[in-house]
């Protein structure tokens, strides 16, 4: 079996031991069946079990292994290791507090997500069976519901870096539009009120880093534009 060596430079930080973060070099030998960055990181963990990172499904569905790969946020499990320039620089997602090595504290990110009430709200009496949608109405949710909340987008957004406590961020706003666009939801006005603030929605300056990094090829900027359109429609 042919093998190849892949060079890494990995961000290391253990707040209990280290005064400040540093980069550590590793070389990992991969065999011909190992293609993804996550395969390499799992192998690296055998060499040095102190390297910490999150991963779970290893197929781009759970969103656990989001990290900064050669300066760009992405999921290790769906990133082709041979497509990356070596030494591959791996850092934690930017803008969030580092718990250890590549593990960040996502509290702020999920706080923003929860602030948009990510569930269908409907004050009409429930029908005998489920609430139905036309195929056309359902189509509006395409490109919105697929978000896996990996935080690649929000942590690549400068507006989220500067105001993570006040700006909802692209992931949260995409989710917000997912429920605004849902015909089964009756809280549209409250949802728009909740976002009509100079910080919560309008910190978005259309930088579009979110679109650039999304591993699911979603477009939060487009969703944000649609929320703004609805707000204009509401007052005009």
């Amino acid at each position: 079996m042919t093998t190849r060596n892949v060079k890494f430079s990995i961000y290391r930080f253990d707040p209990e031991k280290d005064a400040k973060p540093y980069m550590q070099d590793y070389t990992v030998e991969l065999d011909s069946t190992e293609h993804k960055l996550l395969d390499a990181l799992v192998k690296l963990k055998v060499l040095d079990d102190s390297v910490s990172f999150r991963r779970s499904c290893r197929e781009g569905v759970c969103g656990s292994d989001a990290m900064n790969i050669n300066g760009k946020n992405g999921l290790a499990c769906v990133t082709d290791v041979d497509s990356l320039k070596q030494p591959i620089q791996i850092r934690p997602l930017p803008g969030l507090p580092v718990v250890r090595d590549l593990i960040v504290d996502m509290t702020q990110f999920f706080k923003q997500y929860h602030s948009i009430k990510p569930y269908v709200q409907n004050d009409t009496p429930p029908p005998d069976r489920e609430r139905l949608q036309s195929q056309e109405d359902r189509k509006e949710l395409d490109g919105l519901y697929e978000c896996i909340l990996c935080a690649c987008c929000s942590t690549s957004c400068p507006s989220f870096w500067w105001n993570p406590d006040k700006f909802v961020g692209p992931a949260g706003l995409l989710a917000a539009y997912r429920f605004i666009a849902d015909t089964r939801d009756t809280a549209t006005n409250e949802r728009l009120d909740n976002l009509e603030d100079p910080y919560r929605l309008f910190r978005c300056h259309t930088i579009m880093n979110c679109v650039d990094v999304c591993p699911k090829d979603l477009n939060p900027t487009k969703a944000i534009g649609k929320i703004k359109d609805l707000m204009v429609k509401r007052i005009a």
């Binding site: 009120d193 009509e196 100079p198 929605l201 309008f202």
Partner: protein, 115 residues
């Protein structure tokens, strides 16, 4: 004062719209001025003076200056909101920005209406 996260100042949409509308006004004015320069080849001081002696040119110019300053206010405040985290410093910068913009407005009106 309790340390609470407060959001909900309902001027987000208004300012976002203002920024776009004022941009359109400035663009229209810029196109008109460029068209004048092209038509009145090698615009002389006399031609300028004649143009700005029309009341409606002065009015439109004043409207554009207002649009420019309002646009600048929204943009500059956005910068302070993004990068300046200390509320006292930010508020001071807001006030200084407003003073500077109002002073610019007064000076611009003196120039435009004093030709």
């Amino acid at each position: 004062m309790v340390n609470r996260q407060v959001v909900g100042a309902h001027y987000g949409l208004r300012d976002w719209l203002v920024q776009r509308v004022t941009a359109v006004i400035m663009l229209a004015y810029a196109v008109a001025i460029v068209a004048f320069l092209l038509l009145a080849q090698g615009a002389s001081y006399a031609a300028w003076q004649q143009l700005f002696s029309c009341t409606w040119v002065r009015v439109l110019t004043t409207v554009t200056i207002l649009a420019l300053l309002w646009h600048a206010w929204v943009g500059l405040r956005d910068i302070w909101m993004d990068y300046v985290q200390h509320i006292g410093v930010r508020l001071t910068l807001h006030v200084l920005t407003i003073l500077w913009l109002v002073a610019s407005l007064v000076y611009a009106i003196v120039v435009v209406w004093g030709v």
